[in-house]
Symmetry: C2
């Protein structure tokens, strides 16, 4: 790659890192645990949030929704009476494909940080750039749906390597797919050995309690630090 381009990209990531640290300081001051929640489009992030945030015992949560356009997901979360703030990325050229620390920073004044223990940031559906931009989170969780194929960890290694938990979603569909779960887990371990993973189905409820428990543990644990 051309040296000028490399330099521009390095500067962008440096600036992002500085803003992410500022976000972290704000979250820490309010003892809020932050989860950056990522996946490909349509992997089921919003539905898995709907399921988990209903019945989070003793943990007060809020959601920051990142989308190119619209507020469809935010409306779904709001209907659960969970505080939700929308970020639209479409002021970028045709729409930015990820959230960055500056976008999250601009939303902080509208977040009820004094009243919550857990903030889930639902990123734009994309398996590439969201993994490159820290936003000040404690944890990164990604969803990989079994309908997407076994090869995804090998094709998008940064995303699978960057996360603390992988939710393998839509396992109710396994009988109807040619998806080889063993092969997927083998690929996952090849790029991120031993990473936590949960097999879940938003439809049947499989694994949802474990996912909810993971969030409760994360929210009540000492902060993980940047």
């Amino acid at each position: 790659m051309h040296r000028t381009k490399v330099k521009v990209l390095e500067d962008v990531l440096d600036a992002n890192g500085t803003l992410a640290a500022a976000n972290r300081a704000d979250f820490d001051r309010h003892s809020v645990t932050v989860v950056n929640f990522m996946s490909a489009p349509g992997a089921g992030k919003t539905t898995l949030l709907e399921r988990a945030l209903t019945g989070l015992e003793g943990v007060r949560s809020a959601v920051l929704e990142g989308d190119v356009q619209g507020s469809l997901d935010a409306d779904r979360i709001a209907s659960l009476h969970v505080p939700v703030t929308q970020i639209n990325t479409d002021p970028g050229f045709g729409g930015e494909c990820h959230l960055d620390a500056n976008m999250v920073r601009s939303a902080i004044p509208s977040l009820p940080l004094d009243e919550i223990d857990l903030l889930v940031i639902e990123n734009v559906g994309n398996l590439v750039c969201p993994a490159e931009f820290r936003v000040g989170e404690d944890y990164r969780v990604m969803v990989s749906s079994v309908t997407e194929g076994e090869d995804k960890p090998l094709k998008y290694p940064l995303m699978f390597r960057a996360c603390d938990l992988v939710l393998v979603n839509k396992v109710d569909l396994l009988p109807h797919l040619e998806f080889d779960l063993e092969k997927f887990l083998h690929h996952l371990d090849a790029v991120h050995p031993g990473v936590d993973r949960l097999l879940v189905s938003a439809k049947t409820g499989q694994g949802i309690n474990a996912w909810r428990d993971w969030l409760v543990t994360a929210a009540t644990r000492e902060h993980a630090g940047v």
Copy 2:
């Protein structure tokens, strides 16, 4: 958005447009029809290509594969004895999330343009940025899998608006999903009224002949122009 950032992005797209036009001139000189093929990760692009390129009567084809890393898809296409060239975008920071005109330009010397009628460029799996960067194509085709939900045209309008054909894939799974096809098509027509669409299943073969016919027609028609 900050004025400097807007200016940088405009410059990027201007430079891309110039290179896309140069690519077009090269493709036109060799009478090659070019399809930019896009979707979210795991929507089934490669499988739909495998199905269509087997038995393309009278049309000589090649594939340019765009991936962040690896050559899994290129290996699959090569096994069909279709000429294939791989572009990896990982020299970008963590990997670029799309192909641009310059990446395609760099691959042109390795493409057998004299020996083909149709070039399919399989873009990186992403519903945002690939729609923003023209690469010198005649047509843009996207795949939207029914497992991704009905809301995708509303959430990624630029992609659905930019394309000439939408392949609605994995329709074999409809009996096992809560996907409302009418609602999806309604959303599709809201963002791109009347756009061509085909219901397909790489698994059962539904719609594959129509998809192959579309490619043959595109490849034998007068070029669409930039």
